[in-house]
């Protein structure tokens, strides 16, 4: 058992946990959290693959590592947009569930 295998398998388990939370948890904010867990699992999996590609004096494949930085930043922007959507949904309907048909949209003065 080497370290890349350990982190690679951990990443698979994290993605599984994220998928479970994404489906099982009814609250949208918790779905966002679960999605971030799954996302970090994907990043960690790619990080383990990058580590396996260590060569030419680098501790990991620098191309893949650079793409991971891009990935983390983009994941943050997606999370921020999703949070803004949930907060707006709450402000308009007073609720955060996606299950029922939305209430009449009213002009909120918050």
């Amino acid at each position: 058992m080497n370290d890349t295998l350990l982190y690679g398998l951990t990443a698979c388990a994290l993605i599984g946990l994220g998928v479970f939370g994404l489906i099982a948890n009814p609250a949208p904010l918790r779905k966002i959290l679960a999605f971030n867990i799954a996302g970090s699992g994907v990043f960690l999996l790619a990080g383990a693959v990058a580590r396996r590609g260590a060569a030419a004096g680098f501790g990991g494949d620098p191309v893949l590592q650079a793409l991971l930085i891009t990935g983390i930043v983009v994941a943050f922007s997606a999370t921020a947009l999703a949070v803004a959507l949930v907060l707006r949904l709450n402000a308009v309907t007073g609720d955060v569930t996606l299950a029922e048909p939305p209430a009449e949209p009213t002009d909120d003065n918050d």
């Binding site: 398998l9 698979c12 993605i15 867990i37 990080g47 383990a48 191309v63 650079a66 999370t79």
Partner: protein, 309 residues
């Protein structure tokens, strides 16, 4: 010995992730998520991704954590959603187990020796004039990704702003902060900005040759600005303000200008002529830095909420 540390770290990471997913209390889940992000930083160090560790600590743990804490507090009054049925739970468990099993099979079947682009980077990094391979990839070898990333960030901010109520347009994002002017928060917001400014610019500047870079540096500057906003010492700018909008598009536009210059001087969009590679990389970074700082900070308060003051 290292493997023992790795194993302990992995166990704690999985435990925290399970807590994030399963905790009853949303605030506890967010708190666990922040701890998870910080521990993930250690995992990145173990995988020799120091630049990624810095990004994860700054953005994955810090900024995302602050965003989620703000959201969970504002959603405290919302009624709880109906719990999932046992059918949904069973489906979710099956989907999760299948995903994990398939991915684990893929991990076990990874080719040996692993394919890598590291020798290509090592052969060509001298041309760029920077010594940090990550920076060379982000700004020279795959700069199209970085350009699109900057644009994605801008679109996310535009998307968040467009969720504002009509009555609040074009006002200031977030709610007015009313921290006591002589309180401890204001004290912290007065002593930290000079230090944070130096550290943020240092991380940005050293990113050419050492781990660091514009994203990590911009996040520190954004955090300092958010701290002064939270303490009521500064206020978020109005979303209609001309200087703000100009600054938001200046970074991507500067990047595109360098790209167009490349199609004349080096034969392809975003190509860098070898003799001027380092100055052009620096030009892109300096153009992007203020834009990134503004976007990363303003994504937290979100859409405009107030028209006055």
């Amino acid at each position: 010995m290292t493997l023992l540390f790795d194993a302990a770290l992995v166990v704690v990471l999985l435990g925290l992730a399970a807590w994030v997913v399963l905790a009853r209390n949303a605030f506890a889940a967010v708190a666990a998520f922040i701890a998870y992000g910080l521990l993930l930083t250690l995992a990145w160090l173990q995988l020799h991704g120091i630049d990624i560790a810095l990004t994860e600590a700054a953005i994955g743990g810090g900024l995302t954590g602050a965003l989620l804490i703000g959201a969970v507090i504002r959603l405290r009054t919302a009624p709880p959603a109906a719990p999932a049925t046992s059918m949904t739970l069973a489906l979710a468990a099956i989907a999760a187990a299948t995903t994990t099993a398939v991915l684990a099979a893929c991990v076990l079947a990874l080719p040996d020796p692993a394919p890598t682009l590291a020798p290509l980077v090592a052969d060509n990094i001298a041309v760029t004039g920077v010594e940090n391979a990550i920076t060379a990839v982000l700004l020279a070898f795959r700069s199209m990704d970085t350009l699109l990333e900057a644009i994605v960030l801008l679109f996310a901010l535009v998307g968040a702003w467009s969720l504002g109520a009509d009555s609040a347009w074009p006002g200031r994002p977030g709610f007015a902060q009313s921290a006591p002017p002589n309180g401890i928060l204001a004290y912290l917001a007065r002593i930290l900005p000079p230090i944070g400014l130096v550290i943020g610019v240092y991380i940005f500047w050293t990113g050419a040759d050492n781990p660091g870079g514009k994203f990590q540096g911009a996040t520190i500057l954004a955090a300092i600005w958010l701290l002064t906003m939270a303490a009521g010492l500064t206020d978020a700018p109005r979303v209609g303000s001309r200087w703000l909008r100009a600054a938001l598009v200046a970074g991507p536009l500067g990047f595109i200008a360098v790209g167009v210059f490349g199609s004349y001087s080096a034969g392809a969009f975003l190509a860098l002529p070898p003799e001027a590679a380092k100055p052009l990389i620096l030009a892109i970074e300096i153009a992007l830095m203020p834009t990134l700082t503004l976007i990363l900070a303003l994504l937290l308060p979100g859409p405009p909420q107030r028209t006055s003051s």
